[in-house]
C-alpha cells in the first residue's frame, strides 16, 4: 500500500507542466488535490514515472463566472467551490451534489477538475457536469480544445483526454432551472451505488445516472407521469446494463434507478 517510485515535479508555471506532459505523455500524471490519484498510487493501480503538481499555479486556482457559464480552474478545491457565495444561485445542481462528494476531510484537498479527470462512474461531479451539459477545457503545449462532457467520458475511469493534455478548467452552464439530486451509498460520502441528477429542460427533463453503467449516462425525457413514466424509467434502467458487485446487485441498482428517478422527475416537473 505504498506508491511505486516516481519523480515529483513542482510546476511554477503552466508552460512547465505542459512541457513535461508533452515530453513524457502517459508516463506522467498530473496531481492536484490527489484525493483520487493517491489512492490509485497507494494501491499501485497507477504507476506513473513522473507526477506533476499543479497546485502552485495561481492561474488555475480561479472560479470565473461570466453570466451564462461558471468556469472552475484545475487547482480549485472542492471545499472552495462549496464555499463560493454564488454557488446556490448560479449552480444549484452542483450545490446539491457537492456535499455528497467524498467527506469534509477529502473535499478540503480534492479538486473539482481532479474528480472529472478521474472519471469514476459513481462520482458525483462527472454526473453533474454531464447533466448540465458542461465542457472540459483541455490544454497541451501546442493546442487548446473544449470537449463536451458527453464526449469526454469514455468508460470506466477513461476519458478522451490525450496523453499530452491536462484539464485546465471545467465549465458548468449556469442554470436556474429546477433541478434535483439523490444518491444511495453505504455511508454518506462513499461512492454511490446509484446517484441521480435531474434538470428541467424546455421539452421536459434530463435525467443523469451514475454508479450503474461504466460512466455517467444522461437521457432526455418528455414530461411523463404515471405508468408511462414508470415504463420509460424501466427501459432506461435496463439500458444502463447494471452489474452485480460487492456493494449491490444489478437488480437493486435498477430498482434504485426506477424509484429515485421517478421521485426526481416528479419533483423537477412539478
Amino acid at each position: 500500500m505504498k506508491p511505486a517510485a516516481f519523480d515529483y515535479v513542482r510546476a511554477e508555471h503552466l508552460d512547465e507542466a505542459l512541457d513535461v506532459l508533452g515530453r513524457e505523455g502517459s508516463d506522467a500524471r498530473i496531481i492536484a488535490g490527489g484525493q483520487s490519484l493517491m489512492a490509485m498510487l497507494n494501491m499501485r493501480l497507477a504507476r506513473p514515472r513522473t507526477l506533476i503538481d499543479i497546485m502552485r499555479l495561481a492561474e488555475l486556482g480561479r472560479i470565473e463566472s461570466t453570466g451564462d457559464t461558471v468556469k472552475v480552474g484545475a487547482a480549485v478545491r472542492q471545499d472552495a467551490l462549496l464555499a463560493w457565495p454564488d454557488l446556490a444561485r448560479n449552480l444549484p445542481l452542483v450545490a446539491l451534489a457537492l456535499p455528497w462528494t467524498g467527506h469534509v476531510q477529502t473535499r478540503s484537498r480534492g479538486t473539482i477538475c481532479g474528480s472529472i479527470a478521474h472519471a469514476d462512474p459513481s462520482a458525483e461531479l462527472p454526473l453533474v457536469l454531464l447533466a448540465l451539459g458542461g465542457e472540459v477545457h483541455l490544454r497541451s503545449a501546442s493546442r487548446r480544445r473544449r470537449v463536451a462532457a458527453k464526449d469526454f467520458f469514455a468508460g470506466m475511469m477513461t476519458t478522451t483526454r490525450a496523453d499530452d493534455e491536462l484539464i485546465e478548467a471545467v465549465a458548468f452552464p449556469a442554470s436556474r432551472q429546477r433541478c434535483g439530486f439523490r444518491e444511495v451509498a453505504r455511508r454518506h460520502g462513499d461512492f454511490a451505488i446509484v446517484a441521480c441528477a435531474a434538470v428541467k429542460t424546455p421539452d421536459g427533463v434530463r435525467l443523469a445516472i451514475g454508479g450503474v453503467a461504466d460512466m455517467p449516462v444522461a437521457r432526455d425525457f418528455p414530461p411523463l407521469d404515471g405508468s408511462a413514466l414508470d415504463d420509460a424509467l424501466n427501459g432506461f434502467a435496463y439500458q444502463l446494463d447494471a452489474r452485480d458487485d460487492v456493494h449491490a446487485t444489478a437488480r437493486y441498482r435498477r430498482d434504485l434507478v426506477r424509484m429515485i428517478g421517478r421521485d426526481l422527475v416528479r419533483e423537477v416537473l412539478q
Binding site: Y8, M38, V104, G189
Partner: protein
Amino acid sequence: MSRLQAGQRHPVRFSLNGSPCAGEAEPRLLLTDFLRHQVGATGTHVGCEHGVCGACTVVIDGKPARACLTLAAQIDGCEVRTVESLAPSADRLGVLQSAFKRHHALQCGFCTAGILMSLDGFLRQHKRPDEESIRDLLSGHLCRCTGYTPIVRAAIEAAAELADQSGERADA
C-alpha cells in the same frame, strides 16, 4: 520548476504543531509515514491507506485532511497539526480529549487520533455545530467500537466548552 528525483531524499520544511520542522523524504513517501518514521510523531495512525477509514486525519493549513492521501513533498511550506498538539502538557488532556474520556467516546483508540483532529479543525471554524453537522463530519471516519453516539455527545460538549472559553477570552 523543481524536479525531485525518484529514489532520492529531498528536504521538506513545514510547521508541525506550531514549531518549524524539517526532514527528508523520497517523492513517494506518504505524509503518514513521514510523520511517524522520519519525524517520530506516532500519534497519527495508519489504517486503510486509501482514504476511507480516516485514522490518519491531520489538519493541513487549518483543514482536516487524509495524511495517507498526501505526499510529504506536498506539505513543504504548509502548517500541519497532529494529535500531539491537543494536550496542553504531558500530564493533562485537552478539552476534546477530556470530553472523549468522560463520554467513553473511545474504546480501542485506533480511530481516535483522526477523529480528534477532524473535530479540532472543524470546531475552530464552527463554534456552535449542531448534531447533524457533527455526524456529517464523522461520516469521514470509521469507528468499529463505539457506534459513534458517544463521540457525537463528546463533540457537542467540547464545542460548548471551547465556545465558552473563547467567549471568556473575548470578554477579558
